[in-house]
């Protein structure tokens, strides 16, 4: 009697795959939103503060950028586990991915805030604006427009890096596909599907980024 431990891929797997896709999208959005907010705050603080404060913040961000994301994820989950507060993979993954995003976003926003020349700020102040009004009406709109493409670049990188959260057990797309591969033994079909998914999300956005960049140059 023919008996196989492996069952090929079928339509019954669709909900499982869809769940993986949704989880990837979900954690990416969470990390991008939180990372952007934190990054904007930290970037603003760095653009405004003196050298010593800057160096302190910079050295912390430096660690986030110089240690591989995968090590950060493992380290964080192990640490909270050992300390007696085991965390859901989604929560742990979101925290680390958001901080990682923040580290890159803060540089983007800092560059944006610094791209508004001091003379322009002084001009705004001399028109009778308060400090926060210059931030709200001059520096934010001009600074943010200048860094939009870099922001998009970081956001795209985060979508791709979110695949790494699979190592701590979050069922995002790549981990879903890995499980399907070990059941169906059809790595090529599944992986190509996964690749196409990432590509259709990432490619149009990167084209859009290039388009905006070209438009702003003129």
């Amino acid at each position: 009697m023919g008996f196989s431990l492996f069952t090929p891929l079928s339509w019954n797997d669709a909900p499982f795959i869809l769940q993986g896709i949704l989880n990837t999208v979900y954690i990416s959005i969470v990390a991008i939103v939180i990372g952007t907010i934190l990054g904007a705050i930290v970037g603003f603080i760095r653009a405004e503060s003196n050298k010593i404060v800057n160096m302190l913040i910079g050295s912390v961000l430096d660690i986030l950028r110089s240690v591989p994301l995968i090590i950060q994820l493992i380290l964080f989950t192990t640490y909270v586990g050992v300390m007696g507060y085991p965390m859901d993979p989604f929560v742990a993954g979101s925290i680390i991915l958001s901080l990682y995003t923040m580290a890159f976003m803060s540089e983007v926003f800092r560059a944006g805030f610094e791209s508004v020349l001091p003379s322009m700020r002084t001009a705004a102040r001399s028109l009778g604006m308060t400090y926060w009004q210059t931030v709200r009406y001059i520096r934010l709109p001009i600074g943010l427009r200048a860094v939009f493409t870099s922001w998009l670049g970081v956001a795209l990188a985060v979508i791709k890096d979110s695949a790494l959260v699979s190592v701590i057990g979050y069922m995002e797309l790549l981990r879903t596909s890995e499980q399907l591969i070990s059941r169906s033994q059809q790595p090529l079909e599944i992986l190509i599907g996964v690749g196409i998914f990432y590509f259709i999300i990432s490619y149009p956005l990167s084209l859009y980024g290039k388009h905006v960049e070209r438009k702003m140059k003129v």
């Binding site: 007696g84 695949a163 790595p187 992986l191 690749g195």
Partner: protein
């Protein structure tokens, strides 16, 4: 909390971690060198007027830039198996990194090349330089200055991403850390040490790249 750190176990394994760090460096340097060579051809292909070359290098570049590194590694390690090609973890990680490095660097090279105004080319020609001289003395030095920092960043990226070797059982720094911690169950200590080693490696690379830049560009950056 009452967690007892046991650092001795980690320090006993330091020689293993050091040789694993060497593997990490090794794979990332090699992926850069091969990546640069391929990237030159991809950039030339992308800029050429021959449609098929243009299309092929465009496809390579876009796939490399728009899919996760982990996906590339899985593709090399599991996916190629469908064609009967079974790569060792080292070769799988190396080829994935080369594939991605080539894609990113090709765009860097193309950007660097296109940023040099065409008028410089005609100007040097009118001074009596031949093709080789124009590239050797005018175009390439300026281009190199433009692509130096993006290349350094790509190298750091390759070092960090080689850590994905942990997922296919490669014995670079992360994979070896994983193996050693599973023997002793001192997960936290081992990964802290691994993080520190990665930090030192990256810092070392960035600092030495800055020093080299100061030396060769002599301050007019």
């Amino acid at each position: 909390m009452d967690y007892q750190y046991h650092w001795n176990i980690v320090f006993d394994k330091m020689p293993e971690l050091m040789s694993a760090s060497f593997v990490t460096l090794h794979v990332s340097v090699l992926s850069m060198l091969l990546g640069i060579v391929i990237a030159v051809f991809l950039a030339l292909g992308k800029m050429s007027d021959i449609k098929i070359l243009n299309y092929l290098s465009g496809t390579w570049i876009e796939i490399a830039r728009n899919t996760p590194a982990l996906f590339q590694i899985y593709m090399a390690y599991f996916g190629l198996g469908a064609f009967g090609i079974h790569l060792s973890p080292y070769v799988a990680v190396l080829s994935a990194l080369v594939f991605i490095n080539a894609g990113y660097l090709a765009e860097t090279f193309r950007g660097g090349f296109e940023s040099i105004p065409k008028t410089q080319y005609s100007a040097s020609k009118s001074l009596g330089m031949n093709q080789v001289q124009v590239y050797r003395y005018i175009i390439l030095p300026q281009m190199f200055r433009k692509i130096y920092h993006p290349m350094t960043n790509q190298f750091v990226w390759a070092i960090l991403m080689s850590s994905l070797g942990i997922l296919v059982g490669m014995s670079e720094l992360s994979g070896e850390t994983q193996r050693l911690q599973s023997l002793s169950f001192r997960t936290l200590e081992f990964f802290i040490v691994a993080a520190v080693i990665y930090y030192i490696i990256t810092k070392f690379v960035l600092l030495s790249s800055d020093l080299i830049a100061k030396k060769i560009f002599k301050g007019d950056m």
